[in-house]
Symmetry: C2
Subunit: 203 residues, 2 copies
DNA sequence: GTCTATATCGGGATAGAC
DNA sequence: GTCTATCCCGATATAGAC
């Protein structure tokens, strides 16, 4: 964000909505709260977006895109497989560190209203076929053991996402409650995940 | 459930509450809906449990316990490490297959009200120290590469849970939308996860 | 475009009869 | 213990002045 920027009212609203929705979820969010956060009043929300639902839709797509890993882009780079993985995990975990509450929000809203995904399937495509062929190829060359793209992707994303979406469990149970330990744990994740995945793929 | 069982009203209520809360989340659930599901009326809900919040608390602990992996029990069995992992993943994924919407619910509610975890920290302890010592031991014997218990557990749980909590994404994007493919994918998970983890731990 | 005031309704909670 | 009827607040949404 630039320093002297002047936000339009619409931007103020969407910024506020984004924040409150992520924090509270659709059902838990209050229009009043969003208005306060934006420094305006409720009526204006409805002037710009006709309903809570429409306001939600207006922000959800962007949030979803942010959550969706940029698998395609990274995978198409012309670097060895292990480097691809390193780069992907590093980028993705960085995004999560900057938006720690994003995964819980996206996953919950999608679970509650799976239809929403239809509004959102556009250019967000992941195309596992490309990755699949690549993996097959690498396996034939003997660089890695064979694994289907879908399973590999779900494995990696699951490992990246869980510490965030399951923070209370990880911090409270696995790490004994300490918030410092949790921070430390997160810092180690990138490396640990990369290591783990690469080991799993080695012959 | 036995065939001729006679449910007490309280059981009818908690069963209904469990179902509706898991489906809709706390904020999305309606007392009316729960009453309908239980075949009674709203007033009776308040007669048994004084408030929505208290009703929620009454069911949440059990659900949470179900979600928490029984790491301790399985890990204390006197079998080789790879068998432990096999058994754990198998048990845990089976539970998820039987309760596919449970993880999204638990993770969302805990994220929204992390204090709730205090009500729930009782005998659910996981004790990673035991597992940690075990892993250290196995590593020293040269059976596996060393890995911290916390990271291993988070890795495994993340891989198990993500296909469920992220169903719309997995099915919609990674698998192209087909619900058959998704079912097939789930069936493969147990084996794929076990394989992946064991490979990652091998020297 | 932005505000205040208000309509409208849904949903949690209670009163009270049976 | 279980029901019907009702209270009452909070939240979305709209009307209308400026």
């Amino acid at each position: 964000m630039a320093l002297k920027e002047i936000k339009t009212t619409e931007q103020k609203i969407t910024d506020a909505a984004r924040k409150v929705f992520i924090e509270k979820g659709f059902d838990g969010a209050r229009m009043q709260h969003i208005a306060n956060e934006a420094g305006i009043n409720k009526a204006l929300l409805h002037y710009y977006f006709r309903s809570k639902e429409k306001l939600f839709d207006a922000i959800f797509y962007d949030i979803f895109r942010q959550f969706m890993p940029k698998v395609g882009i990274i995978m198409s780079a012309d670097v060895p497989i292990f480097d691809k993985i390193r780069v992907f995990v590093s980028h993705y975990v960085d995004m999560l560190l900057n938006n720690p509450f994003l995964p819980a929000f996206v996953l919950h809203e999608l679970s509650r209203r799976p239809e929403k995904i239809l509004n959102v399937i556009k250019d967000t495509g992941v195309n596992p076929e490309v990755l699949n062929n690549f993996l097959k190829n690498e396996a034939e060359k003997g660089h890695i053991v064979y694994i289907e793209a879908a399973h590999l992707m779900v494995n990696i994303i699951g490992m990246c996402v869980f510490p965030f979406v399951g923070r209370p469990i990880v911090q409270g149970f696995i790490l004994g409650g300490s918030s410092e330990k949790y921070g430390q744990f997160l810092n180690e994740r990138k490396e640990k995940i990369t290591e783990f995945v690469i080991n799993a793929l080695k012959k």
